[in-house]
Symmetry: C2
Subunit: 220 residues, 2 copies
Amino acid sequence: MPAMKSQPAVTPRTRVRRHPERASYDRAVVNRVLDEGLICHLGFVVDGVPWVVPTMYARAGEVLYVHGSPASRMLQAAGSGAEICVTVTLLDGLVLARSAFNHSMNYRSVMLVGRPEPVTEIQEKMAAFQALVEHVVRGRWEHVRATTAKELKATTVLRLAIGEASCKLREGGPGDTREDAQLPIWAGVIPLQLAAGPAIPAPDLPPQLALPAHVLGYRR
Amino acid sequence: MPAMKSQPAVTPRTRVRRHPERASYDRAVVNRVLDEGLICHLGFVVDGVPWVVPTMYARAGEVLYVHGSPASRMLQAAGSGAEICVTVTLLDGLVLARSAFNHSMNYRSVMLVGRPEPVTEIQEKMAAFQALVEHVVRGRWEHVRATTAKELKATTVLRLAIGEASCKLREGGPGDTREDAQLPIWAGVIPLQLAAGPAIPAPDLPPQLALPAHVLGYRR
């Protein structure tokens, strides 16, 4: 059933239980959130403690890449064969209700669980590097000094198959009771988004170097 | 030594090992990040898997509150006496270096570990509600329909002492090698911040209800 291949697996443990109406297991929805996010929070267990560390990532087709120093405790734990959890959250707005109780937030959050594997093959490692750079700033890869074999060697890259995945989201206005909605209290949504400011050149940048289009037009 | 009281404990496991120059254990630095952030990513272990869930929080003095439905798996696990990890990350910019390898991000991230306790005392629970609402939109609490005893009862609130805590941050421009810095490649920082857009009134809001100052002037 090739059509199923592109759908993340819903399992009892990744099924959203609180507010199931906010859940989506559709691969397109999951991918959109993964592609819009810039960082994930990666959870791994060391001595029974669930450490949560922010890190860059990139999606390439059906897999997610994370990377870092071979000395990173996160990557050592995540590459050890144990299960990890990767969560990407986009905050879209503050939901102000008439009651304190019904205040909420609009968000889209994807959660993946799985056992990542180290990427050892040099071509895939380079492709992962490219995906990581392009994920953050599209058009950047062609522009920069290419990655060397030594740099590849000095970096651990892990691949997590996008298997068990769920997306939970809330959108729209406040959910006040009909009674509360009669109260003379302002209610609504304050939209939020990650906004890019004007680029700041490196202090040692020669002034004749113009802003490239991928920086000038940067938008998330 | 009362002066120590306000400093989070640095322990071998919360000491930042990668890029120790990016670490701060100063309570004022930790608090600033906690107060500026809107959501945390909370890690808890179920059946050996480190689940990572985004959730609202608020700091009140030396403690952090999280809350939700008593049916929440996250709160059940987090309130069970086991250790959890709470991470709050603010993304401040994209660092574009001349080499792909030296690309980075500017960020501030606080990590807390500890064993949260359920808040059962009604006055502290109400104070936690107030802290949660005020953390998100200052000035909102006085404006809204007060929380009822029934609503308090329908909510689980957990208190996490801000004990073991660390802040890791990166700021400034790219860290290219001297050799790379000679290349004719644009390098610098694209600053990022969470920006609030114009408020959207609830569809059923009477038009005569003006925007209150805490919404009109909302800034993070």
